[in-house]
Every structure is written in C-alpha cells, then in structure tokens.
Amino acid sequence: MRYRRLRAGRHVTQRVLVSRRSLLAWAAALPFAAHAASAPDLAPGALEMHDGWVLRPGDRARLKLR
C-alpha cells in the first residue's frame, strides 16, 4: 500500500526551520510597507492594507471593513 501511494505521487508534508535570527531579519525586511511608498501609479503611501487586503484609495469608503 505504501508503495502504491508513492507511485500516486502523494505529497508528504514536511517542516521547515529557520533560526530566530534569520526570522527576525526577514520580518524586518518585509517589503510591503516600503513598496507601497514607492508605488509607481499612485501617490506615495496611497495603498493601504486591511486584514491583509491591499486596497486602493476609495476602497475603504465603498466597502464595509471590520
């Protein structure tokens, strides 16, 4: 049975480790904020994020955001 599963190509979940130092370095480099400030088609800082959604100016007025 196990080898039939292998042939079927089922993936096996695996885990990943990063050091705390690496993680902190990465988190500090999270690029969204820097990018939004340099968006080419909009005024600097025009994009905003709400609950992970990257929104345009005016979205907030039209949408019901929690």
Partner: protein
C-alpha cells in the same frame, strides 16, 4: 536490449562500453538514447526493475538533520526503471536567461554556461516530455511598466513516465544495453588516479559484484544519490571522488513552495496566471527569482491540469460585491473571479544545506545519507516580496485586490503547513568553471576526473524557480552531444 543483471553470464562484461550510464531516470535514459542513436555502444545500468520493490526502495532510506525534517528520503524519489519520472507531476518551464547570471544577493550564483547553450535542445526536450503547446502567457495586469513578467508553464499530460515510454525502444535497441537490478557499489580509478577504470555493481540475489569498463562514465542517479555515490567511492580518495574541495553534497537546493494569499480579480480567471520578476526588480528588492501562480489550488493539483481553469458562467456580480464577499469570508458569488495565490521561489545557495554520509549502511554496505535542508531569511523575503509586489500591482492598476496570508505579513515562523519543498533535488554536484566553487565543469565533467560526468539536477548551479525536469532533459541532450564529440 534489456537484461536482468541477476541473470548475467560470467563473460557478459568483458568488453568495455563506449559509455556507462548509471541510472535510468529522465537524465540517464535521455543520455543513453542520444548516444545510442549516434551509434555508440552504451551500457545503461538501473538499480531497480520494471516495478517498484521494497528491496530497491529501501536503499533510498536516509535521515533528515534539518529540524523539523524534509520529506522522507525514500518517499520523495523512486528507484526503478524510469526513476522518479514514475511519480512526476508533469510541470515544466525552462530556466530564465538571468537564472544563469550572477545575482549579487546570492553568493556563488551564476553558471559557466548560459541559456543559449541549452536553447538548441528546447524543442527536442519538449517532444521527449510530451508537453502541451507553447502559447503566449496569460496576463491580468497588462500595462507598459512591466517589472512582473507573465510566464507560462507547459505540462506533460499524462506525465511522461520514461520507463514506460522508452521501454520498447530500448528493448529493440542494437546500441543501448540496459541492465536492471544493477546497483552501483563502487567506482575505481585507474593506476594514475585520473580516470574511472571501472564501475562496480551488485544485484540483489547474487553476492558477487561485477565490474563494468567504459571509456566514459555518467552518473545519472538524481540530486541526492549522485553525491552519495561519489562520497561512498572512497577507496582511493578518502573524501570521495570529486570532493577535493569538500563540495560534493553541499549547496542542496529546493524550491520553497508556499500559499501566500487569495485574490479577487476584475477579469475572470480562465487560465492559471504566473508572474515572475524582471532582473531589475530582483536587484531593486534584493530578492531571488520566483513564480507566483494565480488560479485554483485544487484544480492545478489535478493530474490532468494543463493550465486552463474550470469554465464558469458569465458573471453578473459587480466587482465591489465580489470583493466584499471575499473580505467577509463569504462564499464567492462567482468562483471565476476568486483565486488562490501560490509562490514557488528560487532558493539561496547555502553550504549548510547538504547531503552527507551517515554511519548506517544499506544492504550493499554503502553508507546512507542525511539531508539538511532549511529555508533562509532571503528565501522568506523572496516569498514575501512576491506576494507584496503582485498584491500592490493589482491594486495600483485596479485589476483586482489580493489578501496576503497572515503568517507572511506578520513575519511568523513558517510551519509545515505554510511552506514546503517541491521534491526537486538540485545543486549537490553544482556546476562551476572554478573547481573551488563547483564539482562539475561546464561540460558536466567532474573537475578532478577525466572521464566521469554527472547528469540531472545535481549539476544545477542555481535553482531558478522553474520545475527542473525540462532543464534536466536539455542538459542530458547537451551532455550527449559533448560525449559524442569526445568519443569521435
């Protein structure tokens, strides 16, 4: 012809082959066919039989020292005729031209060859792999400020199983002799130590080994087993063959895969859309290459997926209602406008990501391997940048809105359900023009051995973001042409 090494006669291997190809997966079969078609006498040695067996697969067992672990090493590859193509998913695209050039953010990156060296083999590789037709990549962003490039994946459907596809041809071949159940157990150097004199094999049921001589040898055992074979061949060189600079097994590469969000689009999603960065964007953001896919996770994991998404009725719901439903977490009024967003990215070169030998031995007395694999801060930054760049472009151009997955935007730890590998084993005998930085040269020859070559993704100097099989076949065809030139 195809023979079973268990049934070999005493005198079967008295005459040398032109080329001894070890491993009958995509690289080995492609290489053997290329050489055989040119009239050279090839011995193609496969450790397994026509079907998967526990005896053969057990040889792949190993351990993972990256904590938490990578896939079980006997579960992420297959050890029988056709090799790992027997459970290949069938996704392909070529490496980008800039994958071959140095990226200043990735030390040691760059190949000693360029994309132009592989392009002559592109069409034949597509034929071998039975790929879906080439076509312009779909694009939902458009615009002239294109620093995100739409890309196309082509699919092998049904996925080509090399053993099944080429068995009949190889059985009928007058130039390629295939030997099943032939397990490589050693490689011996000649008297001056510059060339491989013979490869030593064993079958499962007969204890006595048998030696094979050839003018040239090619290891095509996969990204984990090529280094294992070299490291275990330590009778004359204690560190293993080709390991003068402690590089064999190091720089293991994968493609970190991660769901990074979901998206609501103005245009319906009729085809999986893929975006990759230009070299300028990679430099500006200080990241590696990536392929960000927009589509439907369940659909693109189906074995018959070719890029087209399930057709939906024309949508009558306005965009704000679609977006509001997605923000509220409600069922989408029109599924064609809501997609999963997924990234597979290039991995940073790290000497610590490596294959090494451990004390435990297999049934033939060869030491098993341990694999250490981890993702780096740069890998994670690449994933996050991919999500942020695409989300921003869709909002800027009002072509849709994307939600970036919570763990990524908050910089949380990438747990097993958040990021994984693609079963792509690359880099462990990496290519470099400098023996201090790579195991093989631009011709895929082990720097310190005159007649030993490597085929397969172990020679990748960097990973790019593309699934590797297409490049593996291109490289095997190119290696075949190089070996022909040497033999003439």
């Amino acid at each position: 012809m195809i023979e079973d090494a268990e049934e070999r006669g005493e005198e079967r291997f008295t005459q040398p082959f032109d080329v001894c190809v070890i491993g009958a997966g995509p690289a080995g079969i492609t290489l053997a066919r290329r050489l055989g078609a040119a009239g050279f006498h090839v011995g193609l040695f496969e450790a397994g039989g026509f079907e998967l067996t526990a005896d053969s697969q057990d040889v792949y067992r190993g351990s993972n020292t990256g904590v938490p672990a990578y896939y079980p090493l006997d579960g992420c590859r297959l050890r029988y005729f056709g090799g790992t193509s027997n459970h290949w998913g069938g996704w392909t695209r070529p490496l980008d031209a800039w994958d071959f050039t140095p990226n200043p953010h990735n030390a040691l990156s760059g190949w000693p060859i360029g994309k132009a060296d592989l392009d002559p083999y592109a069409e034949e590789a597509a034929t071998i792999l039975d790929l879906t037709p080439d076509r312009p990549p779909p694009d939902l962003l458009g615009g002239t400020k294109a620093d995100l490039l739409p890309r196309l994946f082509r699919f092998s459907r049904p996925a080509t199983r090399f053993g099944e596809k080429y068995r009949g041809e190889l059985e009928a071949s007058k130039t390629v002799d295939v030997f099943l159940n032939a397990n490589l157990v050693d490689m011996r150097l000649d008297a001056d130590g510059r060339n491989i004199a013979e490869a030593v094999f064993r079958s499962y049921r007969r204890p006595e080994p048998f030696s094979v001589r050839a003018r040239l040898f090619a290891l095509c055992l996969g990204g984990l087993e090529n280094p294992r074979a070299l490291l275990n061949a330590n009778g004359e060189r204690p560190a293993g063959i080709g390991n003068e600079h402690d590089l064999v097994g190091r720089y293991f590469l994968e493609h970190p895969h991660a769901p990074v969000g979901r998206i609501v689009t103005r245009d319906p999603l009729t085809w999986m859309v893929v975006y990759s960065p230009t070299p300028a964007l990679m430099r500006e953001k200080g990241v590696l290459n990536f392929g960000l896919r927009i589509g439907n996770f369940d659909q693109w994991n189906a074995p018959d997926f070719t890029g087209a998404l399930q057709a939906e009725p024309p949508c009558t719901t306005d965009f704000d209602a679609l977006l509001q439903a997605a923000i509220d977490g409600s069922a989408p009024p029109c599924p064609a406008h809501v997609g999963d967003v997924f990234v597979a990215c290039e991995q940073e070169l790290s000497a610590d990501n490596r294959v090494r030998l451990i004390d435990e031995r297999d049934r033939f007395g060869l030491r098993r391997i341990a694999l250490h694999w981890s993702v780096s801060a740069l890998d994670l930054k690449t994933l996050a940048t991919a999500a942020a760049e695409v989300a921003s472009r869709f909002a800027e151009r009002d072509r849709g809105r994307m939600q970036i997955i919570e763990w990524l935007r908050k910089g949380e730890s990438p747990t097993p359900d958040r990021i994984w590998g693609g079963n792509h084993h690359m880099g462990t005998t990496r290519m470099s023009g400098d023996a201090r930085h790579g195991v093989v040269d631009a011709d895929c020859r082990i720097h310190s051995v005159g007649n030993l070559y490597c085929g397969g993704s172990s020679v990748f100097a960097t990973s790019g973001h593309a699934n590797p099989t297409y490049t593996i076949v291109e490289l095997a065809l190119r290696l075949g042409d190089h070996l022909q030139a040497r033999l003439r």
